[in-house]
């Protein structure tokens, strides 16, 4: 069958840059000019539109469903419920199949899918959906995650519980250390529910194939993991479903879980017609998991000169009704619960729990973000208690290469935290505010709430530590296929992986690696699909590391074969040959042939997997184990102007220092640091899904606010390169760390300006301006 309109094709990477350069993005101009084909643009003649009926209740029993009137609506081709799921009726991540494809007798969160409609127009589908009559028995939702810990049985929302994971960490003897501590500080912190707020809503197209299978075009982060979950539910073999990545409009973790994939597949199989599903903005807020909200209790003991002796920590993460990523998010919160500081005695109890609140799972920073807000707030408290500067207290406790994390894992690659802090301190502060200022530079911006009255400046710091790649024993790998051939008299490389370009620039760096390793200019990127091996997820800051590693390995294999052929042809040992700028170069004789000469009309193709070194599960009792592959640091300084009377904030400047091991593409890297920082700013100041009684109160971009250009200030960056000997090119994953450290830095700066305790993010105007607001 012909491909749909607006499905992705081969993309020739523009520019000539190799590793370390910043060639233009293949998708850059298209996205800026509005021509890029996103999944929501997919189209096929004769296609039907799918719609999803969702639960209005966070917890209720379905007494009966009547689909008759919906099915009788002219233009409607199918109305499906859980009874129509062809195969397994549940799916989930990491082998935890507890998420119903469609609700079976009970709904456990507001927005849970119940029934599907396919119609020849989206409006008809929506109207038919409204005609599905459901008799409800509404139940009292479980909405207090701390109550679940106190009484898991009494607050059980599904078969698994209760508590999804309790991960303790036990190091040394906290009770003994508590007796020795000269300074003790404690605090309780809370993080609201952040949303990924990607601009491209969940969309895709399922096309029935002649073999009884499906061609599925979807916007996702991990094609193969989707496939693993979809196939059993549709009662198809994996090879009967051909998945192709459609244009992804941002992800940030929100596309790790399935959304419309199985649903569109069911409708397409039932109707025999292509079916498109595309959520609107409101539905999108119910259509994906969010960042876990957190409640955290911390107590630190230290010597009088600010050296940490112990940490006693409890972290509660609310995962909502189904498991999603909660197991791994909880592990991250536990293993990274005290951040990049050396602490000899540690007790951490991290809990992920089930409730009837909105479902939570992966989001950029993945469990480390929540803990970072708490432990950095604690470091500032400790600094104040010891009369030290925020930077000094961090330097005194900073990890370095050779330090042990809370898990006992020894950091075996550079971790130059003290140096990063020194560099941050050396960066000049922005000038103090002048007398007359454009209102857009003041808190409140164009809304003109001040001409300078009540405005106080503050400075704060934040440090974040994030694990890179998958942890805890997962066999993490990626696959790349690279083909080298002569096209139009010019050597050209084709790079084929299943790795999802979600906006981060992966396709650009893949082409850079191919150019560097193969010495060619012309590189084409094959659409990401499941006709090549698994690439793993575009998550955990891992794709440049893992898929970059796989592309490098495949290119090396192709190059070895090319040079072997050159040896046969030229009689020069391959070991003495290299490829540079399209030529075969001998160590002694210089250019001896061109790639075209050696290849002729033959192609060389190689497929390689890249695995990172094995990791271990955390011990279920002590939390000990080498659970992480790589660790990455970012440090931030925030300068803010706060209108202390109105509680409004203008972030004046954000400065960041990050060690990335190796700069693969400076422009894309800076974009990641800017973007991660902005997402952290959003969590600090405005981004929150507000929930009451399990119901989302603000499912729109009118009331779920994300930063604008007037909120995100210019940044100063200092990017450091200490290579990690274990990683391809020595690189260190870079996408997530800035999301961790910018939030606590901004909140610390507001505290510096206002003296308010500010123990909850996002900080609300009333937390600053009303007496007792946040205390």
């Amino acid at each position: 069958m012909a491909a749909p309109v607006k499905s992705p094709g081969h993309v020739t990477a523009p520019g000539q840059g190799g590793v370390g350069d910043s060639p233009p993005r293949p998708d850059g101009t298209l996205k800026v000019t509005g021509e890029f084909a996103y999944a929501s643009d997919l189209w096929m003649d004769g296609m039907l539109w799918g719609a999803t009926l969702r639960s209005p209740h966070p917890r209720a029993r379905i007494v009966s469903i009547d689909i008759g009137p919906a099915l009788a609506t002219p233009g409607v081709y199918a109305v499906l419920t859980h009874e129509d799921v062809p195969g397994t009726k549940v799916y989930g991540l990491d082998g935890t199949e507890d998420q119903p494809v469609l609700a079976m007798g009970e709904v456990r969160y507001q927005g849970e899918p119940i029934a599907l409609v396919a119609a020849d127009h989206p409006e008809i589908a929506r109207r038919a959906m409204d005609r599905i009559a459901i008799e409800w028995e509404v139940l009292e939702p479980v909405t207090d995650p701390r109550a679940v810990i106190a009484d898991p049985e009494g607050n059980r929302v599904q078969e698994r519980g209760g508590i999804c994971r309790h991960q303790p960490v036990r190091v040394g003897d906290v009770a003994a250390a508590r007796r020795e501590a000269e300074v003790v500080v404690s605090g309780e912190y809370e993080v609201g529910i952040q949303d990924q707020a990607f601009l491209g809503p969940e969309s895709g197209l399922a096309v029935p194939a002649e073999d009884g299978g499906l061609d599925l075009y979807v916007s996702t982060q991990w094609l193969h993991n989707d496939l693993k979950q979809i196939a059993p539910c549709l009662a198809l073999r994996e090879d009967q479903i051909r998945m192709t990545l459609a244009g992804v409009g941002g992800a940030f973790g929100g596309r790790e879980d399935l959304s419309m994939q199985i649903h569109a597949g069911m409708l397409a199989l039932r109707t025999g017609r292509p079916v498109k599903m595309c959520y609107n903005r409101r539905e999108s807020f119910f259509g994906h998991v969010h960042r876990h909200p957190a409640w955290m209790r911390y107590e630190y003991g230290a010597t009088r000169d600010g050296r940490l002796l112990y940490a006693d920590v409890e972290i509660v993460l609310d995962g909502g009704a189904y498991t999603s990523s909660t197991l791994n998010v909880t592990a991250n919160a536990a293993s990274l619960g005290v951040g990049p500081y050396e602490i000899p005695n540690i007790e951490i109890d991290a809990y992920g729990v089930y409730t009837n609140n909105p479902p939570c799972g992966a989001m950029r920073g993945f469990g480390a973000v929540q803990a970072c807000f708490a432990y950095e707030s604690m470091m500032d408290k400790l600094a104040a208690a010891c009369g030290l500067s925020p930077l000094e207290v961090r330097r005194r406790n900073a990890v370095r290469q050779g330090s042990r994390l809370a898990t006992g894992q020894v950091i075996d690659s550079p971790a130059p935290l003290a140096e990063l802090l020194d560099r941050l301190e050396a960066m000049p502060l922005p000038p103090p505010p002048g007398p007359s200022r454009d209102i857009r530079d003041l808190p409140g911006g164009a809304s003109q709430t001040t001409h300078g009255e009540g405005v106080v400046r503050g400075v704060g710091y934040g440090v974040g530590l994030k694990n890179i790649c998958f942890s805890e024993g997962f066999d993490d790998y990626s696959t790349a296929r690279v083909r080298l051939e002569v096209i139009g008299g010019e050597p050209a490389a084709l790079v084929h992986t299943a790795a999802a370009e979600v906006g981060q620039g992966l396709v650009t760096v893949q082409a850079q690696i191919a150019r560097t390793e193969l010495g060619v200019q012309r590189v084409t990127i094959h659409p990401a699909d499941t006709r090549v091996g698994d690439a793993g997820s575009s998550s955990a800051s891992r794709q440049t590391y893992m898929t970059g590693g796989a592309v490098k390995a495949a290119c090396e294999a192709v190059r070895a074969e090319l040079l072997a052929r050159a040896e046969r042809r030229l009689g020069v040992p391959a070991a003495d040959l290299s490829v540079q700028a399209g030529k075969i170069v001998s160590r002694e004789a210089g250019v001896v042939a061109s790639i075209e000469d050696v290849l002729g009309d033959e192609a060389i193709e190689a497929t390689r997997e890249y695995h990172h070194r094995p990791t271990q599960k955390m011990d279920p009792v002590t939390g000990q184990g080498n659970s992480h592959n790589q660790l990455a640091l970012c440090v931030h300084r925030a300068v803010v102007d706060v209108d202390v009377e109105l509680g409004l904030v203008k972030v004046v400047e954000l400065a960041a220092v990050q060690d990335v091991g190796k700069i693969m593409n400076r422009q894309a890297l800076e974009g990641q640091i800017h973007g991660g920082t902005a997402q952290g700013l959003g969590l600090a100041l405005m981004e929150e899904i507000q929930v009451a009684g399990g119901q989302i109160r603000n499912p729109s971009f009118t009331d779920y606010l994300i930063p604008t250009v007037l909120d995100m200030p210019p940044m100063k960056l200092d990017i450091v390169e200490y290579p990690d000997p274990h990683a391809p090119y020595g690189l260190r994953g870079a996408g997530e760390p800035p999301t961790l450290s910018s939030t606590p830095a901004i909140v610390a700066a507001i505290r510096d300006a206002t003296g308010r305790p500010l123990t909850r993010v996002p900080v609300r105007p009333e937390d600053i301006s009303l007496a007792g607001g946040a205390e």
């Binding site: 911006g445 203008k650 507000q690 729109s700 250009v709 909120d711």
Partner: protein
């Protein structure tokens, strides 16, 4: 849903008379969002864009400006910002540049949201809304009587908003709005002030602080008596504070997803005090107090 597209004002009035349930649409920045998200399904849409005269403004015989319901925020800022500074400041806080290029004060009035940014300055300036029906002709409604409830206004089923009438500023005007981000934000609460030295009066308007936009009349009366219009003596900080308290007392705010009632009351007092201070400092230059 029917889509009506009159090309003249007379046709528009006839269409509205024939379809009292028709929802007029100008920029569509509010109406279309609600339709797209299925919040409302009007029986008909009445597209007023082809009625070109609505996009015009002129100076009436009495010196007031008559601004067509279809004049966009962007044009209001660019063409009338010098004469209507309070309204222009409010217009600058509406949405994004794209929204301001399409959205209109007429649409703001039609939606009659308590959070509409245009309303407080219209109240403070004592504007009048010109509405018309085919059967009964023109009716002038003072802004203070125009808003009748949450998203309800004084329009009858067969009436359309043709224009608003507003005097060019005779004294300083300010608009101030709280949002939890620094642009593109719906008001948590807002406040407009206009000094009318020729009448020795002060106009006020509160937004997002009650079921409808409203004036703080007690605060206005208080200031009219306290301010030294003649000698332009510096503002007494105690007067500014009391004014803030009276403005705050005029509000009936609620707790909602955008903010708490307590915060709204507090913020209104601060905005009222600050905007009065700016306005009086403009009126009495060289004798600034902060």
């Amino acid at each position: 849903m029917e889509f009506l597209r009159p090309v003249s004002w007379e046709e528009a009035l006839a269409a509205k008379a024939a379809h009292p349930g028709a929802v007029p649409v100008q920029g569509g920045t509010d109406v279309m969002v609600e339709i797209n998200f299925d919040v409302r399904r009007p029986e008909a849409l009445l597209d007023l864009n082809p009625v070109r005269e609505l996009a015009e403004w002129d100076v009436a015989e009495d010196g007031r400006l008559r601004v067509g319901a279809g004049v966009t925020y962007t044009r209001l800022i660019e063409e009338l910002g010098d004469r209507l500074p309070g309204l222009a400041q409010a217009a600058r806080t509406v949405g994004s540049p794209q929204i301001r290029n399409r959205g209109t004060i007429g649409g703001n009035l039609g939606a009659a949201s308590p959070a509409g940014d245009g309303h407080p300055p219209l109240l403070a300036a004592g504007a009048e809304i010109e509405v018309e029906s085919a059967e009964r002709g023109v009716r002038m409604i003072p802004a203070a009587e125009f808003f009748t409830g949450v998203k309800r206004n004084a329009l009858r089923g067969d009436e359309l908003i043709r224009a608003f009438w507003i005097a060019p500023a005779s004294g300083p005007q300010y608009f101030s709005k709280i949002g939890t981000r620094n642009a593109m934000v719906i008001a948590v609460c807002s406040f407009a002030i206009a000094l009318h030295p020729e009448r020795r009066r002060v106009g006020t308007g509160l937004g997002s602080a009650a079921p409808t936009p409203r004036r703080a009349t007690a605060a206005e009366e208080f200031l009219a008596a306290e301010l030294d219009w003649e000698r332009r003596r510096p503002l007494d900080p105690a007067v500014a504070r009391r004014f803030g308290e009276l403005v705050s007392a005029a509000a009936s705010p609620i707790d909602d997803v955008r903010g708490t009632a307590d915060y709204r009351r507090h913020a209104l007092a601060v905005m009222a005090r600050r905007t009065l201070t700016w306005a009086w400092n403009d009126y009495a230059p060289g004798r600034k107090v902060s």
